[in-house]
Structures are given as structure tokens and as C-alpha cells.
């Protein structure tokens, strides 16, 4: 979705990053870079710190030591958190939710213009949920909800798309749709960071794997 050409220049660099939460060391001395066009898997056992690591990259939690450098000025990050955090009965339509992805690039402008409206439409089309635009979030299936949230992340035209276990609890069709969309995006040069605990099943072309084991990150090309 990003307009940037596909080249191996870093967007974000992590150097000696350590994260401590509730007096517990979660990530120790992590160093790697996320380059333009990368498709990175972040793998590790449940509770290994995968989500904590991306939350630190997103600036949602403080870091203990080290450095996160955002190399591109005003880099936009599209984020798909784990769905379980959201209120499934929230009164909102698919279109309302997907549109909010645009807000990051609108600075202080209050209303959506035609560019944002078409970004919303395109994202919904890519994930095959355009027919659900006016449907209420509460009436969607798990897969449709997840696609809605992914479409929201895409509308931000992100430099990096960060996805936290997007296929959790999904049926086979929805999972296939989501991974098909990711493959298409990756081929278009979109930088993607995908948290998964089940990389073998995905079978997607990816450029890098970051494994978190015993608080330490291991990077495999």
C-alpha cells in the first residue's frame, strides 16, 4: 500500500533494546532492522514477548534501555492488534471502523476527503468485505471482524504493517483470504511484520524470521 519504492533501506532500527514489564525482563538486548519491502515473521512460544516487542516498536510501552530509531520521517505504522481486546458489541459499521485508519495521515483535519474515502473502499475491496460496508461490527463473524481490522490498518497507507496473530480462531476460508491479501501486499512492496506462533502453516514467502527464545531475539534471513 506504501508508495515508496522497494529497496533495502531501513525504516526502523532496533539497537540493544531491552524491555522490562512489572519488574520482569521480557526482551533482552534485541538488535535488528526492518527494511523497506521486508516480510518479517516474529515467532516464539506463547508468552515469549512477541506482542511486547511490537508494542514497544509502536511506542505503546516504555523501553528499559537501547534505542528504536525510526529512519523515515513521519513513518506510518498500520497495526492489527489481537481482536480479543475489543468490545464485540460496539455500535459501529464496518465502514466507520475501516475509515479510522486514515486519521494518522490527516494531521488535524477533522473530516474525511475523497482520498481517504477511496483508501477505505480499496482496503475493503482487497479483503473482500466491501459488500459488508454498512454492516454492524457485532453482526460479523470472527473472520469478517479480523478482515475489518486488517482493512483499517491498510487504510493508513502504512510504511510498515504490523499484524499480531491475524489468523487466530479463524476458519480456513477467512485465513486463506487474509494470507492471500498479505501476499498481494508483499508483492506490491508493502513492508510487513507478522507475529505468528505457527509459521509452518502459513507457507508465505518471507524475507526474515525473528525468533524470541528465552528473552533473546534471533534473526534468521
Amino acid at each position: 500500500m506504501s508508495d515508496s519504492p522497494v529497496e533495502k533501506t531501513p525504516i526502523i532500527k532496533l539497537e540493544g533494546l531491552s524491555i522490562v514489564l512489572s519488574d520482569q525482563l521480557i526482551i533482552k538486548d534485541a538488535s535488528f532492522s526492518i527494511d523497506h519491502g521486508d516480510f518479517i515473521y516474529i515467532i516464539g512460544e506463547n508468552g515469549s514477548g512477541k506482542t511486547t516487542l511490537v508494542r514497544a516498536i509502536l511506542g505503546l510501552i516504555p523501553i528499559k534501555s537501547g534505542k528504536i530509531t525510526v529512519c523515515k520521517k513521519h513513518a506510518l505504522i498500520g497495526y492489527l492488534p489481537q481482536e480479543s481486546n475489543l468490545d464485540p458489541n460496539f455500535p459501529a459499521t464496518v465502514e466507520e471502523i475501516v475509515s479510522t485508519g486514515n486519521l494518522g495521515k490527516m494531521r488535524l483535519r477533522p473530516f474525511y476527503k475523497s482520498a481517504e474515502k477511496s483508501a477505505t473502499k480499496n482496503a475493503m475491496k482487497l479483503l473482500r468485505i466491501d459488500s459488508l460496508a454498512k454492516k454492524k461490527f457485532v453482526n460479523l463473524s470472527g473472520g469478517q471482524k479480523q478482515k475489518t481490522l486488517l482493512a483499517r490498518a491498510l487504510t493508513s497507507s502504512p510504511d510498515i504493517l504490523i499484524l499480531d496473530e491475524p489468523s487466530n480462531n479463524l476458519d480456513a476460508v477467512s485465513r486463506k483470504d487474509i494470507y492471500h491479501a498479505l501476499e498481494t501486499l508483499s508483492e506490491q512492496g508493502q513492508t510487513i511484520l507478522l507475529i505468528t506462533h505457527d509459521p509452518e502453516r502459513l507457507n508465505l514467502k518471507h524475507s526474515k524470521t525473528i525468533e524470541i527464545k528465552d528473552k533473546v531475539t534471533h534473526v534468521y534471513a
Binding site: I77, P91, E96
Partner: protein
């Protein structure tokens, strides 16, 4: 009916109370949508009990109750905000502690100083006689601020209410919005408490949103209907309280309750068919 309305608005104090109440109803409905949907509706309860304590202490010490309680309630709302975002604490339990603690302190202060007198009961159950011009001006200011905030930040407020973490990740200043909401909520609790009383003010934040959620499927629809329902319930409750010589706060809450029950039953019936 027209005669009744003419009679009500021929009294200055009733006109003042109606104006202040209508403005507070609009703001409470707007802020209430976010509080209810973020599952933080109990904040209103906690703050109203703190406001009662502050009002009582101010009366006992001879301070102006409004100007003493406003900063106290605003500071308390920031404390609640901090506690509710800290994973180590259970925010809801702390709100209950704050509510009970404040009410106890307020009651003790009242009984040890001026006694449980008219002032104290009017703080508990509200009194339309208590609304001053100063409070109408403050209600007008907070209503203008709140309406402008919703007009120009509607999409951002929606994003924060639906998914605060995502909103923060795309650069929306969620902490700033939370702070503004805390201040607005504190001001309407303090102002509304004069009219509805400690025991009923938080209902103004909750009922209209719950009713609106039965009627609308979009966030925009819920916000809009919530304001209309809140205003309508206030106006009907206010006129009824005058006509029946009943307490204003309780009348408004009962009308809100009837609206909610009617909307809930209609929603259930429509979804069954």
C-alpha cells in the same frame, strides 16, 4: 400544556434550572457515550461522591462550594484515570473505594460541623433552587467546548472509543483526549449534582447512551440519538416534576428509565421477528 410551560418559565429560578439542566444533559450524553462504550461509566459515580464530600467540606469551612469542589473533582478524575490505565491496579475497585470513602468523609464532616441539614440533603438529591447564574454560564462554556470538540474531533473520538491502542499507534494523542474528557466529566458532575444530586447525576451519563444503543447501529447514530434522548428526558422530567410537585432529579431519572425500558423491549421484539 402551554399554560403549564408559560407558568414554569415565568419563574426566574426555574428558567435558570431548565437552561443549566438542558446544557448539562447535552454534555452528559456526549461524554456518556464514550464512558459507557469504554466501560468506564462508574467513573461518574466515583466523581459524584467525591463532589459531595468536597461540597460538604467547602460549606463547613465557609468556602464557595462550586469553586472548591471543581479542582478537587478534576484532580480526582485524573487519579482515577491514572489508576484505570495502570495494569497493577483494578480501576473499578478503586473507583468503589473512592466513592465509599468520599461519601463517608462527606457525611462525617457534615454531621460534625453543620449537621445533616438542608444543604447536605440538597447535595444528595439535588435542588432546582440551587442553580445560580454563575453555574449557567459555566454550563454554557462546557457545552460549547464539548460540542466543538465533538464536531471537530468526532472521528478521532470514535477511533479512541473503539480501540484506544490502535488510535495511539497511528499518532492520535489519546492521553490529551482522556484528560479533556476527565475535565469535562468533572465539570458536569459538579454542575449537574446541584440539580440532580449525588445519587442521580451519574445516571445522566449512562441512561441516554444505553437507550440510544438499542436504537442505532452506528457510532454517529448512538451519539446523535443519545443527545436527543437526554434532552427529551430532561425536559419531560422537569415539566413532570413541576406538575406533580415531585423531586426534579428523580423525575428525570424515571423518564430516562422508561425510555430505556421501552427502547430495550422494542429492540428485543424487533430482533425476534
Amino acid at each position: 400544556m402551554l399554560n403549564l410551560l408559560t407558568e414554569i418559565f415565568s419563574y426566574d429560578f426555574l428558567t435558570r434550572a431548565f437552561l443549566a439542566g438542558a446544557l448539562i444533559s447535552i454534555v452528559a450524553a456526549l461524554v456518556g457515550v464514550t464512558l459507557v462504550l469504554k466501560k468506564s461509566a462508574m467513573i461518574g459515580d466515583g466523581l459524584s461522591h467525591t463532589a459531595l464530600s468536597a461540597f460538604t467540606i467547602a460549606t463547613a469551612l465557609g468556602f464557595a462550594p462550586l469553586w472548591f469542589s471543581l479542582p478537587v473533582v478534576i484532580i480526582t478524575s485524573f487519579v482515577i484515570l491514572k489508576l484505570s490505565t495502570n495494569r497493577k491496579f483494578r480501576g473499578d475497585a478503586w473507583i468503589a473505594v473512592l466513592a465509599a470513602g468520599s461519601l463517608a468523609i462527606g457525611t462525617l464532616t457534615a454531621s460534625l460541623t453543620t449537621g445533616i441539614n438542608v444543604d447536605f440533603t440538597s447535595f444528595l438529591f439535588g435542588s432546582i433552587l440551587a442553580v445560580s447564574t454563575q453555574e449557567i454560564i459555566l454550563s454554557l462554556i462546557v457545552a460549547i467546548v464539548c460540542i466543538l470538540l465533538y464536531l471537530f474531533s468526532f472521528n478521532r473520538i470514535f477511533a479512541i472509543t473503539f480501540d484506544e491502542e490502535f488510535a495511539r499507534s497511528i499518532g492520535i494523542k489519546t492521553n490529551l483526549y482522556s484528560a479533556i474528557f476527565s475535565i469535562i466529566c468533572s465539570v458536569i458532575i459538579v454542575l449537574g449534582m446541584r440539580l440532580l444530586g449525588t445519587l442521580l447525576i451519574s445516571s445522566l451519563l449512562i441512561f441516554p447512551t444505553l437507550t440510544a444503543m438499542q436504537l442505532s447501529r452506528t457510532f454517529r447514530g448512538v451519539v446523535f440519538s443519545s443527545v436527543i434522548i437526554s434532552l427529551l428526558a430532561f425536559a419531560i422530567g422537569f415539566v413532570l416534576s413541576y406538575a406533580l410537585n415531585a423531586p426534579t432529579g428523580a423525575s428525570i431519572v424515571v423518564v430516562n428509565l422508561i425510555f430505556l425500558l421501552f427502547a430495550f423491549i422494542s429492540h428485543q421484539l424487533l430482533h425476534k421477528t
